[in-house]
């Protein structure tokens, strides 16, 4: 009777059952989310160890950026400050979240090398840890949005809740990016540098500081920038009273693409990661 209950580990190189194992890894990683959660909290605590205001440095530096850039660019771009500031605050916070997450994603498996080579943990745990860490960090910016909205006196209506699906989509993409970038950067160590460069360029190419209207009739070209629809699904409901269906279709399309690529990569190469890191 006991034989049936025994946990069995079976690996057969001639029949690797990659998809099933990848699914098992994902299921195990998600069900042990408490581990990823605890590790993410530790990461954040250790990052600001000994610091007086700790992770609220994130809030402070974003606040300084929003005020500084808000005053400068509202003049440069001839925008009304009461319109421009909420736009900038939301954009910058979402963008900073993406821009912090991506480099950490490239590193999420390499930095867990010590654990990967010693403990049989699901790889998705390390990706989840990275996502949680960035969520915690980004959450410190929330008071800032509230302050900006209240000061300007432009509080979004109920349509503001439509930003929630956008946030969830961002979280899903963050997870997929951690899996994909984490793996590819464990194998090819140059990719991390390339990604950093792309992100710098992407900041200027994405309507973070500037508003889409400034592009005039060329605005459709923004759909080639995957960051734009992702950003817009969150910003639109909060600042502009909603988003177009086209933005949502593009956001879902790019997300499906990223998740698909990440899943394919994960299924094919998951078992190799222990040799790569």
């Amino acid at each position: 009777m006991q034989t049936l209950a025994l946990p069995t580990y079976h690996a057969d190189a001639s029949n690797p059952r990659r998809a099933a194992r990848a699914m098992a890894d994902l299921a195990a990683g998600l069900s042990s989310w408490r581990l990823a959660w605890a590790l993410a909290r530790l990461d954040l605590r250790n990052r600001y160890r000994g610091s007086v205001i700790g992770p609220f440095w994130v809030t402070l530096s974003t606040a300084i950026m929003v005020v500084g850039l808000g005053l400068l660019y509202s003049t440069l771009l001839k925008q009304d400050l009461t319109v421009f500031l909420p736009h900038l605050a939301v954009s910058l916070i979402v963008w900073n979240t993406i821009a912090n997450l991506v480099p950490e994603a490239t590193n999420c498996l390499v930095s867990a090398e010590g654990v990967i080579r010693q403990l049989p943990l699901p790889l998705t745990t390390h990706a989840l840890r990275c996502v949680f860490r960035n969520i915690f960090s980004a959450a410190h910016n929330l008071p800032l949005i509230v302050v900006v909205f209240l000061t300007i006196g432009r509080v979004p209506g109920v349509e503001g809740f439509l930003a929630i699906p956008g946030l969830l989509l961002l979280g899903l993409n963050a997870f997929a990016a951690c899996i994909f970038l984490g793996m590819i950067c464990a194998r090819f160590r140059d990719i991390g540098q390339i990604v950093t460069n792309i992100m710098q360029l992407a900041f200027f190419m994405t309507p973070v500081i500037w508003r889409v209207e400034l592009l005039g009739e060329n605005a459709w070209r923004l759909y080639f920038n995957p960051f734009y629809p992702l950003l817009e699904t969150i910003r639109g409901p909060l600042v502009d009273g909603g988003v177009s269906v086209g933005v949502w279709i593009a956001a879902l399309g790019y997300s499906a693409l990223l998740c698909g690529v990440a899943a394919a990569f994960f299924i094919r190469f998951r078992s190799r990661v222990a040799f790569w890191v």
Binding site: Q2, T3, L6, P7, T8, Y9, H10, A11, D12, A13, S14, P16, S32, R34, L35, A38, L39, L42, R45, N46, R49, G114, V115, I116, R117, Q118, L119, P120, L121, R187, R189, S271, A274, F275, W276
Partner: protein
């Protein structure tokens, strides 16, 4: 019943970051037996080559062999960290591994926090974690130091904590590397007692060690590895006797290998 069955088990380590051609050539020239280029022109080290063995309930197996013979790699493969490149491996039973005691420890967390973290690593629930905490706290004998970040521990204290956490389990299959022999004399007495009960409770033990004393005292079977192959497998005295008598090995020593 707990069992381990390996059939043609093969592990190869790709050396990805050996980009320089000259280094690659030198490696290949020096150790043509173990380092080779595979079909996609990567340099790979054959860490384990075509291993066949069956370990059944009640067996206490020692993995012996020189540095780089593949002992730790085999342990990690049994633990499910490396997936076989060739062949088949079936491990039936709950695995507990004492491979690296420090893995997953956070130096900025206190001893107590580290114990809880270890519980999470093992996928325990709150009750399990509380039990682990109580057990490891008592056994490590760290007292008030449990609430000090482990960064401030002496080497001996770290080992005590790591040992206490790692051994607070009762797996059916126990995988062990020889790290546990460190620690102060006072602690070793306690440690041995605890290890002995752990070993007694396990259906199968596999230990990688250089220490023949340990092998003779605890093991019933020895597997001798050399350059990633099994060169002898049998009762302890038979295998160790041959090693001590200096029986020449069928394969030459490897030039470069993973431990």
């Amino acid at each position: 019943m707990a069992s381990i069955v390996a059939d043609g088990l093969t592990i190869e380590f790709p050396l990805y970051h050996v980009a320089a051609r000259s280094l690659k050539k030198r490696l290949l020239a020096k150790a043509a037996l173990r380092v080779r280029t595979d079909e996609s022109n990567r340099v790979v080290v054959a860490a384990l080559r075509d291993l066949n063995f069956t370990i059944g309930r009640g067996e206490r197996v020692a993995l012996v062999g020189s540095n780089g013979a593949g002992k730790t790699t085999l342990l990690r493969t049994l633990a499910g960290i490396y997936e076989p490149v060739g062949g088949e491996l079936t491990v039936k039973g709950e695995i507990g591994s004492l491979i690296d005691p420090g893995a997953g420890m956070d130096p900025d967390s206190t001893g107590r926090e580290n114990i809880r973290l270890r519980g999470l690593y093992r996928g325990m629930d709150d009750a399990g974690i509380a039990a682990l905490e109580a057990d490891a706290a008592t056994f490590s004998g760290l007292g008030e130091f449990l609430d000090v970040p482990t960064r401030g521990y002496s080497a001996g204290m770290s080992i005590r904590l790591a040992f206490a956490m790692a051994t607070a389990m009762s797996p059916q299959i126990l995988l062990m590397d020889e790290w546990f022999m460190a620690g102060d004399a006072d602690f070793m007495g306690k440690a041995e007692e605890r290890l002995a009960s752990l070993v007694k409770g396990a259906d199968i033990m596999v230990i990688a060690t250089h220490d023949f004393g340990i092998v003779r005292r605890w093991c019933t079977r020895a597997i001798r590895l050399n350059a990633g192959r099994i060169v002898a497998d049998g009762p302890v005295e038979e295998v160790l006797g041959a090693m001590e008598a200096g029986t020449p090995l069928p394969a030459p020593e490897p030039a470069k290998a993973e431990g």
